[in-house]
Amino acid sequence: MTDIDVLIQAVDRADSSVKLLEAVEKLADVQSEKGIPTLIAALGYNNPGAAVAAVDGLIRIGEPAVKGLLDQLDSHNYTARSWAIRALAGIGDPRGLITLLGAATADFSMSVRRAAAKGLGTMKWHWFPDDLLEIAQYEALDALLFVVEQDEEWVVRYSAVVGLQSLGITFGQPTSEIKGVWRCQIERQLTQLIATDLSLTVRARTENALQQLRSQSPKPPLLSVPSSLSTMDWHLILEKLYERKGNERQSIAEGDPRKYRQLAVTIHHRPHPNLEN
């Protein structure tokens, strides 16, 4: 038996919450892909300490954990779902985008909305192909602008401000026309928030975000870790985004969170798209 098998077995055999926590922490520390299913399972054991350690470990493993986390979202265990969304937000993989859009705007738990809003600002944008990047960033921007304006919890608005700051910095000193427009939109919204938000903490963080955006130095070149996403992955992401656009036009007003809820349901129950079509 390899060392990693021993660590996995220790999680499976833990018979107290303290032992479980310790075993998950050890398994998380080795950052082995082989431990992914066990860490994901630990999200559903109703042991918050272990879940925090597992989320942390999954974020450090990163991209290889995304597929399993997305599958976990199908589970009926709400707590496990919310931890999986937190992990997806931390990883920033493009395949989690649709889930984060829905979670930031419509989840009933403020800790999930909070994690998703921050995550929308820190997606791995450099993994997106050019044709998809623009629509994906537009959706993230739209969702975050909605959240800072509408969410009733200060901490979720705070998180969306952090998300908008990251997104604005991604847009950089505007080179293309559309990113210049978006960047202005962010600064305008933040300026308004400083004047109107009820929470002193949110106003202060917004002030801070504006200062950081305005003093932004030219972007350092990104470390180009290549994306491992397949053509199929991109196809699915694009399909879902277009589908979302379609749903919007059909029924619900712009910015209404129900559109994401409906979307999530649609995606959930949809058979695998046929690539031949």
């Binding site: 918050p48 738990s109 009733e152 200060w154 952090v162 929470s199 903490t201």
Partner: protein
Amino acid sequence: MDNFLNQNESMDEDSGTITGNERLTVDQAIANLQGEHLGLRVYAAWWLGRFRVSEPSVIERLIQSLEDEEDRTVAGGYPLRRNAARALGKLGDRRAVIPLIHCLQCSDFYVREAAALALEQLRDPLAIPALIELLTTPAIPTVASDSLPPQPYDAILEALGSLQAHDAVPFIHPFLSHQVERIRCSALRAMYQLADSAAAASMYGDQLIGMLSHPNLQLRRTVLADLGAIGYGAAAEAIAHTLAENSLKLISLKGLLEKELTGIHPSLLSPRAMQVMALMDDLL
């Protein structure tokens, strides 16, 4: 933990507003408060406080409810009085101060506790002598169980600290060595708020920071709330690294940040304010 977090979410102070189309519910709550059904009265009292319905008729009715005799628990407690006191603390009407001071003599421990916390929220120094009296004369006949201290000392100590009751310091001091940890923490918190020098305040604040490594999670949670309430800036790092829910750490750091921001223009963010925000960002 998730249940706990959700409870905490619904208690968030910034979300307690209602708008026009919920009007019917306000009227219903006011009606329920005067209705026959005892359970509905207790719920209505809580609801009116939660949604900050501070209309004169509501205040008057809640003040009357502080003397309710109809609603009794088997052990002799007064559920409606407790909720009425809690609501009056939230509604900010000083007409409630004298009636709440009377509640400090109630036979129900939890009514006395709710009244002390409400008097803290109403910020009226008129309550100070009666609160000090509770610290020194613990012999009120009580219906509470043996597992409770004679008085709700933690609530009383917190109220005296917030009311800036400098005369109370000699009476608070002995509680720094009380056998119950929770009560020791409240005494530290009050002594921090009443300290006459920055050095003395830090001494008490640092002892509270020390309590953040206590093995009991519930105690760590209350210390997070204490540090947030007093806004002790030096606690920022320790708060961020305590073993507790991120939601509670964020609320605590919010307290530090807002203390740091008082009196300065928001565009002049101090290095400490920046540090606190950086810690908060990592907890999202």
